[in-house]
């Protein structure tokens, strides 16, 4: 039995369909992240779960109870908004208990719950302040307190970290994850930041153009992206996507690309040729993540198929923990990730190691993954 069931849900504004037949089953205690570029429909979907937007067709059910047409306050859900949406004229304490007050919870019980939540979030000293006197991180906590105090079935988060500075964002990310682990609540979380999606979620739904492109665990999404969109969207720096041609020779499968000088280079694939039957000589898109292109000493020792080759380095970008290098293959910039102390300089004809275990291949027409 699924806890939150999104069944064949479509959203239309007039004649324009912005969300197409979305199906997601969320289990109790899951942390589902909806991720995608702006305009992909993720916030619309969240708002439909919340009841803030009407469902054009399909069903959203929580604990097997259909929620279509049910007022937001009757769904037993709570939401943390992007702007936090703290009531500016009320104290922090009032903000947190306003929902309980609206639901007719007696004062004594409200105060008890407030005390508990404030303790948990360490905001007890702030309870008499107004939101205007709080820092960004404190507001964030209050917004979460307002959601927690309701003890809802499902928590909804709408890009809650996007208004924080970089450092605070990382801290709050950890905090949200801790909270989820401690309370075991069911969370649906919307973000456009793929790192947030990877770090927080138990499952990710990558969305684009009103479609779910892929639904899976962070590992599945990262290692075996369904299509070129997912591959390019998830990961930073993003996956290198190169034009290549399939070469089959007996049992061996390989792809051929052009190196920096335009000379053909053959990269063996760690799969039997049978899986690419009939595709000999066809054009494909080869996807390699930057961390699979390293200096020879930095290559994954456990990998089966590592190809060594030499190519000219155009740019190096030391990032402290690693050094990113840009080189040219198949007429495109290719980014590799080397150890911080690898000795490479711009202009070097450097040794590179490509871990083909991690390579993926897409059909250039359908953009779907073949291998």
């Amino acid at each position: 039995m699924s806890f939150l069931k999104i069944d064949n849900v479509t959203k239309r504004y007039g004649a324009v369909e912005v969300l197409h037949r979305v199906d997601i089953d969320v289990q109790q205690g899951e942390f589902l992240v909806l991720v995608g570029p702006s305009g992909c429909g993720k916030s619309t979907l969240l708002n439909m779960i919340a009841g803030l937007e009407e469902i054009s067709s399909g069903t959203i059910a929580i604990k097997d109870k259909p929620m279509n047409g049910v007022h937001p306050s009757q769904r037993n859900i709570a939401m943390v908004f992007q702007s936090y949406a703290l009531y500016p004229n009320m104290t922090v304490g009032k903000n947190i208990t306003f929902g309980l007050e609206m639901h007719g919870v007696p004062k004594a019980e409200r105060d008890a719950k407030l005390g508990k939540v404030a303790d948990m979030l360490q905001i007890t000293p702030l309870l008499d302040r107004k939101p205007g006197q709080l820092s960004g991180g404190q507001r964030q906590r209050v917004a979460m307190g307002r959601a927690l105090v309701r003890d809802p079935d499902v928590f909804l988060f709408d890009e809650p970290l996007s208004n924080l500075d970089a450092k605070l964002r990382v801290d709050m990310r950890t905090e949200i994850k801790k909270l989820h682990q401690r309370l075991g609540t069911t969370i649906v979380y919307v973000t456009h930041d793929q790192i947030e999606a990877m770090t927080l979620s138990t499952r990710i739904a990558v969305m684009n153009g009103g479609y779910i492109q892929q639904l899976g665990t962070p590992r599945e999404i990262y290692d075996t992206p369904n299509n070129i969109f997912v591959a390019a969207f998830m990961g930073s720096p993003s996956m290198n996507l190169l034009d290549a041609v399939i070469r089959l020779d007996g049992d061996d499968a390989a792809v051929e690309i052009a190196d920096g000088d335009g000379a053909p280079v053959t990269l063996p694939l760690p799969i039997p040729a049978a899986r690419l039957q009939g595709r000999d000589g066809t054009k494909v898109v080869l996807g390699i993540r930057p961390e699979a292109i390293t200096d020879p000493d930095g290559a994954d020792k456990s990998a089966n198929t590592v190809v060594a080759l030499k190519n000219v380095i155009d740019v190096t970008e030391p990032a402290g923990s690693d050094t990113f290098v840009t080189t040219t293959m198949a007429g495109k910039d290719v980014i590799g990730r080397m150890r911080a102390d690898a000795h490479v300089h711009a202009g070097d004809n450097a040794d590179l190691a490509i871990n083909m275990d991690k390579a993926v291949i897409f059909d250039p027409k359908t953009e779907d993954r073949i291998v």
């Binding site: 803030l52 306050s73 908004f81 703290l86 009531y87 500016p88 004229n89 929902g99 609206m102 639901h103």
Partner: protein, 293 residues
């Protein structure tokens, strides 16, 4: 209007700065003169005005003109002074401003936070009503007031001013609420607050400034109205602007200039007072009436 000055990055020379100051001061004189002279001359006896120089200060300072204008001056045919008309205006302005402001606030709230199909067109139609020449409604309005027995009554004038004031008050609140975070309304909705509770608990506490703007605007406009007052009022309901016009135009015999001036000042006093006390808001009101959003 933002009143914060900013560094304009422009540099001006000594001569041009002198010219600028001269121009600004002369213009200040231009704006001050008519009303200033009126005030000064209202404090003179009539003989000093007709026989002397309007630019000179009174030799005899007197409040006689002010006193007689208030309580005994001949307006139309009755020597009632401005007093009853002043109260007529008050009795008309206060309810009209209150009702149109409340309606405007609710309309603005609905039009921004409870949007529905066609709401922009509806707002456009309301907005256009602010700008119509009122001549187009005079004839049917006179008929309707006559048929409903409201002709010549303060109630009738209140109705007229509310009707033609809704457009502006809605405009003010709509533009103000348009930038009020919708997420707050959504949060309150999820917290279980209903339509009126959200308005009362969430929006109203933040609506102070725009309410002041709206009240000032409506007050100024309705107080200063002449056309409706002249068309639809009789003695018991005539506002002060109509009385002033009658005072100035209908007096036979000697023109009592000092009385005219005192009358004009009585008519101007409430709006000027509002302007002095809350000028900042008054300007903002003027601005949002023009530069929307």
């Amino acid at each position: 209007m933002s009143v914060a000055t900013q560094d304009t990055a422009l540099r001006t020379g000594r001569v041009s700065r002198a010219f600028i100051y001269l121009f600004l001061l002369l213009m200040a004189l231009f704006y001050l003169l008519p009303f200033g002279i009126m005030v000064i001359n209202s404090l003179k006896p009539l003989s000093e005005i007709t026989g002397g120089n309007m630019m000179s200060l009174p030799q005899v300072w007197t409040l006689d003109a002010w006193r007689s204008t208030w309580s005994t001056a001949q307006i139309g045919v009755e020597p009632t002074g401005m007093r009853p008309y002043f109260w007529n205006s008050i009795k008309m302005v206060v309810p009209a401003v209150a009702i149109s402001t409340v309606l405007g606030a609710l309309n603005g709230y609905v039009l921004t936070k409870w949007r529905f199909r066609g709401d922009t067109i509806l707002f456009g139609l309301m907005l256009f009503s602010c700008f119509i020449p009122f001549q187009i409604v005079l004839i049917p309005m006179a008929r309707v007031l006559g048929l409903t027995g409201l002709a010549g009554s303060t109630t009738g004038l209140i109705l007229v001013h509310v009707v033609y004031g809704i457009g502006f008050s809605t405009l003010y609140f709509r533009n103000y609420y348009a930038v009020f975070p919708t997420e707050l309304v959504r949060a309150a909705m999820m917290d279980g607050a209903g339509f009126f509770r959200i308005f009362w608990r969430i929006l109203m506490p933040s609506s102070g400034p725009i309410t002041v703007v709206c009240i000032i605007w409506q007050f100024t406009n309705i107080w200063n109205d002449f056309l409706f007052g002249a068309s639809f009022a009789d003695f018991d309901s005539q506002p002060i602007t109509v009385a002033l016009n009658n005072l100035v135009n209908s007096s036979t015999g000697v023109k009592e200039y000092n009385v005219h001036f005192a009358g004009a000042i009585y008519a101007a006093l409430p709006t000027l007072l509002v302007y002095i006390v809350a000028g900042r808001y008054f300007v903002r009101g003027l601005m949002s009436g023009s530069v929307k959003g």
